[in-house]
């Protein structure tokens, strides 16, 4: 019964050999830490992996080895197999590559093939290994490169990200990618907005459980004034690093480590992090005030129940659709 609603999205991960495709995949989805990726060998042909993400959404990740010989088969004999039914193409450019023109030619050929078989796919281009560029030149070089990439994209709308496995930019890029893939995001966001307003939160963020990628977030007017723009990615990075530490010291694998709940109260802000749905954490930032913070936490618990009830009722796929009235009810009860 659930299978009918299950969403499987085919995600192609492509780019020149050695550009860092498998490295970033391992960090985001397989709990590697950045310095461990040097252990990875070259990807032979295509490595398939399934990543469960947010309820019913499964990413079917095709990590395509990037050596020239493989690239040729993808474009020739494998063409139909590889490029049909693609939901997302993620193309990785190595910023240090010496053969920019040749890379772009390959990219163009891939895009042409994609247009032939899956014209509705999203295309994301990651300009990778940005840590190797001096900080003051990064923005300029990235902008130049993404302009060139856009000009070779054959009519596809392309999102570009500068990324590096050594900082939070990787999380930003991938959060941007999964954000596009989640069904019913509008509904979730509508719910979160109403919820954030009810509990006076400055910011409410939903994180995916195993990857700690930002699924979506809602920020209040005051919260928008926060001068740190990359805070969501940085949070992903911070929490994931701590998860690794916790796993190491409780003798489990990073995949099974996690947090049940985290409370933080400081004179400037209060933070609550807790499980929301099976696959998400909710992260609340509320202004200081013991009583209102406790209310916010209580309301989150209640909203969670409402959420899972609605999910059992089977409102929609990927993420349940709570009827707005019932939500208001549960919130009303909590604050009373």
């Amino acid at each position: 019964m659930m299978d009918a609603r299950k969403k499987k999205r085919k995600v192609l991960l492509m780019g020149k050999s050695g550009s860092g495709k498998s490295s970033m995949r391992s960090i985001i989805f397989s709990n590697y830490v950045a310095k461990d990726v040097r252990r990875l060998g070259a990807t032979i042909d295509v490595e398939h992996s399934h990543v469960k993400f947010m309820g019913n959404l499964t990413l079917n990740l095709w990590d395509c080895g990037g050596q020239d010989a493989f690239m040729e088969t993808y474009l020739a004999s494998q063409r139909g197999n590889i490029f049909s039914d693609v939901a997302v193409l993620i193309y990785v450019f190595d910023i240090e590559s010496r053969e920019v023109d040749r890379d772009l030619d390959t990219y163009h050929a891939i895009i042409e093939a994609l247009r032939e078989f899956s014209p509705n796919a999203y295309v994301f281009c990651l300009v990778h290994k940005m840590d190797l560029i001096q900080a003051e030149h990064r923005q300029r070089i990235y902008e130049e490169r993404s302009a060139v990439i856009r000009s070779r994209s054959a009519g596809f709308y392309v999102d570009t990200f500068a990324s590096s496995i050594w900082d939070q930019s990787l999380y930003k890029a991938w959060a941007g990618i999964v954000h596009k893939l989640i069904p019913n995001l509008v509904v979730i966001e509508r719910f979160l907005t109403a919820f954030a307003k009810k509990i006076n939160a400055e910011e409410v963020i939903l994180f995916e459980r195993s990857t700690f990628l930002t699924v979506t977030s809602v920020t209040s007017e005051v919260g928008e004034l926060n001068p740190i723009y990359d805070r969501h990615e940085r949070l992903s990075n911070i929490m994931k690093a701590f998860k690794h530490c916790a796993a190491r010291n409780t003798l489990t694998t990073p995949a099974s480590a996690g947090f049940v709940v985290m409370h933080t109260k400081t004179p400037q802000f209060n933070i609550f992090l807790g499980r929301f749905t099976d696959n998400t954490y909710i992260f609340l930032v509320v202004p200081p005030g013991e009583a209102s913070y406790n209310c916010a936490v209580l309301n989150t618990m209640l909203a969670r129940e409402g959420f899972s009830k609605a999910a059992a009722g089977g409102g929609g796929d990927g993420f349940p659709l709570p009827p707005p009235e019932s939500l208001d009810d549960s919130n009303g009860n909590g604050t009373a």
Binding site: K35, N200, E202, V222, L225, N226, P227, I228, R231, R234, L235, I238, M239, A241, F242, C245, A246, R248, N249, T250, T252, S256, A257, G258, F259, V260, V261, M262, H263, T264, K265, T266, P267, Q268, F269, N270, I271, L273, V285, V286, P287, P288, G289, E290, A291, S292, Y293
Partner: protein, 416 residues
């Protein structure tokens, strides 16, 4: 690895004051006194042979050594390329360990003032510096010293370093017997467990043999196995700093009382900035607990950085205690509890030096609790920690001379 200090020689407490007095008289006769200005000249302009110091400074520097503006000092010494600057960068400047590969070799004495729960200076010495040459003023180097940290590269041939260390100990002991000598047997991450123990024992043996030959049976020398790639260097520095804290046993008693009553597995009183702990309960060292506590401080500090921005339109929604407080429950029901300890500005007089160390704003109490019921009794834990905080402030507000430890902490409520 987990409990590095094995050979520990206790320092003679009794005849201390008398000896110190003698050493005062002796010190005045030292032939090679130089002024502070001259020393800094030597330090800063090494190679520049300009040695001219104003004579007024010379006379002024004598009372100054015990004056209130002198900070206790940690000296990092050892042969060149033994890892002194790397240690200083990792511990006090939060440099990621793998970036220390790119550190230039130190050519002058690097003086680093650390403003944390207590102010102290870290002097990083170039390995090739001959500080016993007459050009250097021993009084200025060792005068207001807290501890001498000697770094030995365990992966290298250490005989030379050991010989030099012995020379240093003998000289320093002669004039400044109050100095703690801490030996870091460093870079042990590259050694196998067995080889590590052998090296450790060999070095300890060589040093203590030489010292007892020279007539120093109980020299205050302590040994640690360290590496910047794990937490051992923080652990070792914690032990070094702890010896400089006058009320350590009182603090430990307080923490023990708290930990026993609350069922804490392990409790640390951390200095947030350097992640050195200044006291802990007296249970055996548990590296796993230390790592988690220390990383959890990182999490809280990093998150605070993201959300502590100032803006007039940020309004509070009610009353709240001023100190930060946080806890996390992990997948296996382990709880890590953190509480900031900054109610008052406190004054902590330093060991044997009459220096007031202000500001314990940077202290925080971190505990690991492995009791699934703990998360329901958070209120009680919080209350106990507050009681501990009051006791802590009371300890620190007492002057060192009065000495008597406050009998507190009995008021912590017990979790049943």
């Amino acid at each position: 690895m987990s409990d590095s200090p094995v050979a520990r020689v206790s320092r003679p407490h009794g005849p201390f004051i008398g000896r110190e007095f003698k050493f005062w008289k002796r010190r005045r006769q030292l032939p090679f006194r130089k002024s502070e200005a001259e020393l800094s000249l030597l330090g800063n302009l090494q190679g520049n042979n300009q040695v001219a110091a104003p004579t007024q400074a010379k006379s002024a520097s004598v009372p100054n050594t015990k004056g209130p503006d002198v900070k206790p000092r940690l000296l990092l010494m050892g042969l060149r390329r033994s890892g002194k600057s790397s240690i200083a960068s990792v511990v006090f400047h939060k440099m990621p360990p793998n970036e220390t590969l790119f550190l230039e070799s130190t050519t002058r004495i690097q003086k680093d003032s650390i403003h944390s729960f207590m102010d102290f200076q870290v002097w990083d010495f170039p390995g090739q510096l001959e500080y016993f040459e007459s050009a250097f003023d021993l009084e200025d180097i060792f005068g207001s010293l807290g501890a001498l940290v000697w770094v030995i590269d365990a992966q290298d041939d250490y005989l030379d370093s050991v010989a030099r260390l012995n020379r240093t100990i003998l000289t320093v002991q002669q004039f400044y017997p109050g100095i703690n000598i801490e030996v870091f047997i460093h870079k042990v991450d590259g050694l196998s467990d067995e080889y590590r123990t052998d090296t450790f024992q060999d070095i300890v043996q060589r040093i203590s043999d030489e010292l007892s030959d020279a007539g120093y049976e109980n020299a205050p020398v302590h040994y640690y196995l360290t590496s910047i790639y794990d937490y051992s260097v923080f652990e070792a520095f914690s032990k070094v700093i702890q010896k400089l804290i006058p009320n350590l046993s009182t603090l430990e008693n307080l923490i023990n009382t708290l930990a026993n009553n609350c069922g804490f597995e392990k409790t640390y009183l951390f200095d947030v900035l350097s992640k050195i702990y200044i006291a802990s309960d007296t249970r055996p060292v548990d590296m796993a607990c230390y790592e988690m506590c220390s990383d959890y401080i990182d999490v809280i500090v990093d998150i605070s950085e993201l959300y502590s921005w100032d803006h007039p339109s940020r309004k509070r929604l009610g009353e709240q205690i001023q100190e930060a407080e946080s806890h996390v429950v992990l997948h296996d029901q382990t709880m890590i509890h953190l509480m900031e300890m900054n109610k008052y500005v406190i004054c902590l007089p330093m060991h044997s030096l009459n220096i007031l160390i202000e500001n314990c704003r940077y202290l925080c109490l971190v505990s690991v609790i492995r009791n699934p019921e703990a998360k329901d009794k958070r209120g009680l834990i919080d209350m106990n920690c507050r009681t501990f905080q009051d006791a802590l402030n009371e300890v620190f507000s007492r002057s060192w001379e009065e000495g008597s430890a406050p009998q507190d902490g009995g008021s912590t409520a017990e979790i049943k």
